[in-house]
Symmetry: C2
């Protein structure tokens, strides 16, 4: 068997981002953690953790962390059946997942809460970065992801979750100021839109769907799903918001849809590693249940 | 004078993260953008943009981008006084700011909306990463930041904004399950807490304030301010939430405070570049006004 006290040290440094915090979480001194990492690195003849702020795993380090996580999940299942086996202070395992921001803001949390209530595992959610999701899954940096990437990443299964309905929305004052003659292509080139990040193509995608052409939209950058809704209401710009997140503001007249009856449907997928891990299967069931309650059928 | 058509190409590539998107925003072909960047790089004898996904500026590239931004702000002020000077399709300038997530979720947006209503500039907000805020300000990657970093960064002014009141909160079911005998140090070592990121020390800070010692808290990672509140209500863990964000849930009994009357006050600061930029002064006024409405006096 491998020396798991060494492997646990690597995993803690990567999870916590520093040797000091890893030491606290393992109830060791920082120098003991550092020695363990160093010992493994000497044995393998390669760097496993790039020291920095935060400390990050090298590719080899990520491989080891993924292994620690998978063994941890198998141990948890074993302990469920044989609780007497548990050593004192058995560390809890942490499952790393990537979730797109609008899912985190709308339908995903009930899945996380239902899973966490039944299991002792901890969840480490990351915001999905579309540009890196495939790489994060492939390298084992995350075990699973809610993503708009349909094609299975190497080593992963991809299950359809349903579609999120997006509405192009703006405040009444914003519509009066920027779209006095209606929502035209030339008006859209002047009216500030919101975008979550450089990768956020929803506003451009909706415009292309409606007008058949790519336009240059002047964007405010706003990297928060809730702030996106709040900023639309405050009149900072127009933006594509999940229908469920703006339902109430629409009903109260604090928001208007730019072109009534013109939603954008975004299909979402649950991609997760093919390794046979019962705990991940149970998480998958919780995610599928929450998605079927919170998303619409994909076309 | 410098050749601003070349400088504008660099700035667009960095702002948009790719040559294709930069080309669209400048109404040029990608190869024209690429040639302009290349020309400047050849002239300077150094790389300005690291080609990747996304493309990012080197230190020299960031210097140029900062200069373009500052010239853009001065142009906007000039055009305010002399509108006839405006060339057709003058590009709008974009101000990059860093804001901590809880401020973005609570008091900051009115400042952004008030500023954007009066100015044609676009805002590109980034979530403050405490570990990198000083470096982002120093390098000019952002012009200003809402941060808990009090000491002025080199080249910046630091103005106190007031303090955010945080409350340790959990759902009634969570309290019944994990704190049946009250909130003790040993119960806190078992009860999952929420943390925004590896850098989020609020939960640990509150525990230290209340119990006089550092404890090892088992964390769920949840990188979204609104999801933090929602996850607390859903019973995923306990967490430090801004008082203004949980007021209603507390009044309705969906949340409880862990130790009544034990808030944590976090002083916040507005750090901004000392360059004399009238537009930034106006943004500063809007930020100070919103902070005085949304934050409490610091002790």
């Amino acid at each position: 068997m491998l020396d798991y006290s060494l492997l646990a040290a690597i995993a803690a440094v990567v999870r916590e981002g520093s040797f000091e915090r890893a030491a606290r979480s393992l109830h060791l001194s920082p120098s003991a953690v550092s020695q363990r990492v160093k010992l493994l690195e000497d044995r393998l003849g390669q760097i496993l953790v790039v020291r920095g702020s935060p400390c990050v795993a090298t590719e080899a380090g990520r491989h080891l962390c993924r292994h620690v996580e998978q063994v941890g999940m198998l141990e948890q299942d074993l302990l469920g059946a044989m609780p007497a086996l548990a050593p004192d202070g058995l560390g809890r395992i942490t499952l790393r997942l990537a979730v797109n921001a609008d899912s985190l803001a709308t339908w995903f949390l009930p899945a996380a809460a239902a899973f966490a209530e039944a299991e002792s595992a901890l969840l480490d959610l990351r915001l999905e970065d579309q540009a890196h999701t495939a790489e994060s899954l492939r390298s084992g940096e995350v075990l699973a992801a809610v993503t708009d990437l349909a094609e299975p990443v190497q080593g992963c299964r991809s299950l359809p979750l349903g579609a999120m309905r997006y509405l192009a929305t703006a405040s009444p004052a914003f519509v009066a100021r920027y779209f006095p003659a209606g929502v035209t292509a030339s008006a859209l080139c002047q009216a500030p839109c919101l975008r979550f990040s450089q990768q956020d193509r929803l506003q451009l995608g909706w415009v292309k769907q409606q007008f058949g052409q790519e336009l240059t939209l002047p964007p405010h950058g706003l990297p928060s799903a809730q702030a996106f809704v709040d900023a639309t209401i405050a009149g900072l710009g127009w933006g594509m918001n999940p229908a469920s997140a703006v339902q109430q503001a629409l009903a109260e007249g604090r928001l208007l849809t730019l072109l009534p009856g013109a939603p954008l449907m975004l299909p979402l997928y649950w991609q997760y590693t093919r390794q046979p891990l019962p705990m991940l299967e149970r998480l998958t069931q919780a995610v599928l249940a929450a998605a079927s309650a919170g998303l619409e059928p994909a076309e």
